[in-house]
């Protein structure tokens, strides 16, 4: 019995599952300390996610931006760069989406493709700027990307605030053209009689019609797959991983380490920006003046951490994260518990997962005790 337990402890996935469990337990304790019934809290957490197909789809929709920033962080991490700048890159994508979505009229299909490619390029350049600073001046990417986050944030506010952009009497840019939107069904469709008739006819499509589900989900899946393939099956990916694990050995093996840092941050920045553009194109439809960044990039760091920097892992970590958030809203809505409790739970989760590598060692110690 005991050896099985110890062997299980040594598997990395056990560590993650255990971390999730500990996160839940501490979440329960926090709930109880706040005077809320933890059992009811958790049942709300689950019903908040699983009680309807629309909610489950919503989890998927909400996961898109944070999976994208998660991918951006983990891809850079795999190549040895700590990309704190996913937030700024994401914002650059939002700006690109909002501006090109409104000011550059184009036929359907081409319009979104054009925006996505542009957003990827702009975010990529923005990301690789940090790598260039590192190559050229030795400025650490953590410092430069944090600064670039602020620059992006203020840039967005500046753009929104321009007389020619801001919708009078509002705090946001004009709504993007319909051709630029990438949801499967338009938002208006739900509100029309035609939409209601459609829903009555195909009730199983409710989750798609009544959420912002769209091509963003497919693009997210493709990006996840693409980044995984790049890392695992291409020569460039091989170089990037080598640089990530051991810069010096990669340099010594005649790999173009500096060019690769640029490339890695280009791909990472582009991925984050794609997330930002897709958020505008499927959900928000414009960008607003904000008092603080919405923190999609910071969520991405947590997602990447939970995922152990694995692209496929980011997909699941993003779903978990967005599920917890949505379920957490339900705890707040029905129990009146502050969102902070959910945030504490997610925080503990990330902390536990950061601690997870110690688990196999712990298992070894246990093993020796058992043997003794």
């Amino acid at each position: 019995m005991k050896p099985i337990l110890i062997r299980a402890l040594k598997k990395p996935i056990t560590a993650v599952l255990l971390a999730i469990a500990v996160g839940f337990i501490i979440g329960a304790i926090t709930l109880a300390l706040g005077g809320f019934n933890p059992g009811r809290g958790f049942s709300l957490l689950f019903t908040g996610v699983f009680s309807s197909s629309r909610r489950m789809m919503q989890v998927l929709v909400n996961a898109v931006p944070i999976v994208m920033t998660g991918l951006a962080v983990s891809f850079a991490s795999r190549t040895g760069l700590f990309n704190i700048g996913a937030d700024g890159q994401f914002i650059m994508g939002q700006v690109t989406g909002a501006i090109l979505g409104y000011y550059v009229p184009m036929p359907a299909i081409i319009h979104p493709l054009f925006i996505l490619v542009s957003a990827f390029a702009i975010g990529g350049i923005y990301g690789s700027f940090a790598a260039w600073l590192k190559n050229r001046f030795g400025i650490h990417e953590v410092i430069s990307t944090i600064m670039l986050n602020w620059i992006a944030y203020y840039f967005m506010n500046f753009v929104v605030n321009m007389k020619s952009v801001k919708v009078p009497g509002s705090q946001h840019s004009p709504e993007i053209l319909d051709t630029a939107k990438i949801t499967f069904f338009s938002r208006e469709f739900r509100t029309t009689a035609e939409g209601e008739a459609f829903l009555a006819k195909y009730p199983w499509l409710e989750s798609v019609v009544r959420t912002d589900a769209g091509y963003a989900i497919i693009i997210m899946l493709l990006m996840t797959l693409a980044l995984w393939v790049i890392l695992k099956y291409t020569r460039i990916g091989f170089e990037l991983r080598a640089v990530g694990y051991n810069f010096y050995a990669a340099e010594f093996s005649a790999m173009p380490v500096r060019r690769n840092a640029l490339l890695s941050m280009f791909i990472a920045g582009g991925t984050a920006a794609l997330g930002g553009a897709m958020l505008v194109m499927s959900t928000s439809h414009f960008i607003s003046m904000l008092g603080a960044t919405e923190g999609y990039g910071w969520d991405g760091i947590s997602v990447a951490l939970i995922a152990g920097n694995h692209p496929i892992g980011c997909l699941f970590a993003g779903l978990l994260y967005s599920g917890l958030k949505l379920g957490g809203t339900e705890i707040q809505s029905r129990l009146g518990a502050p969102t902070e409790i959910i945030n504490i739970m997610i925080g503990v989760l990330v902390l536990c997962i950061a601690f997870a590598p110690a688990l196999p060692r712990l298992a070894e110690r246990l093993e020796r005790k058992v043997e003794a």
Binding site: N157, H285, L290, G291, E294, Y296
Partner: protein, 344 residues
Amino acid sequence: MKKRLFSLILVLALLLTFVVACAPKEETPDGKSVALITDLGGVNDESFNQSAWNGMKQLEEDGFKISFVESEKEADYAVNLTNKTEEGNDLIWGIGFLMEEAMVNAAKEHKEQMFAVVDVGFEEGAYSNLVGAMFHSEESSFLVGYIAGHMTETDHVGFILGMEGDVMFRFQYGYLAGVAYAAKELGKDIRVDAVTIDTFGDTAKGKATATKMYSDGADIVYHAAGQAGSGAITAAKEMGKWAIGVDLDQNELAPDNVLTSALKNVDQAVYQISKRVLAGEDVGGKTFFLGLKEGGVGIAPSSDKHVPKDILDKTDAIEKLIIAGDISVPITQAEFDAFKADLG
């Protein structure tokens, strides 16, 4: 491998049944229920969201069921609205004009649900299930303008406007009219510098603008510029001048330098409009303006700290005149011009 997958599915299935079985049945409340969805601030933001939540708590005391959801991101507005709709509330509040689009979309999508939104006005009857709550900010601005007119020693005051727009001009012309009214009473000319800074967020800009006004000779500056306006208060503190706060009692930001504040009582709006909706009154499609009469606006209670009693008494008298309709406060340039002409 297959076996493992199977057992995994089995465990998941068990877990789900467990959760579903455990989920306690939602008690259907006899009383009616109201829900609040905050903008990015959250219910403890010491600003509108919190004020709105205070109004909700008043409803709770009256026996209604209340709940709230905080929006962490703009994208959450629509989702939270849909979730709250599914919960079956009698009324759902959205706080702040940032939520305008989300509220309109929700109202269109969920035609059976009643919504209300603070700080947004609609064309009468545009959406049959959406109520707007606006404020006669010009009335409170008139009062603080009146106080400023009486208190200025340099006969020179300032005004900082965050953004242009119909709603925002109410502050400006109310204030200008109040100052003019006081000047007329005192029989002198008072100069007003009014500047629009095109931002609600840039504190530094607010501060720079106010500093300029003070060094030009103004000794009182009123701001209607949100976060950016707190910079004006900082400037007053640093230069030892008066500032007038807006929306909330901002005296605590600079207790020795905030003369008074033009309040916007969001809690009153939430409370009063909710009561009418819950009483079954058909107010859908209407936009309510709350002024001095309804307690929707006013001047801060802390005004007595710095404003002499005689001036406060006069201000009370002016308030009564406005409530009675004897003074009609202008909200546009044209109305203001007419107002001035009337004053003579």
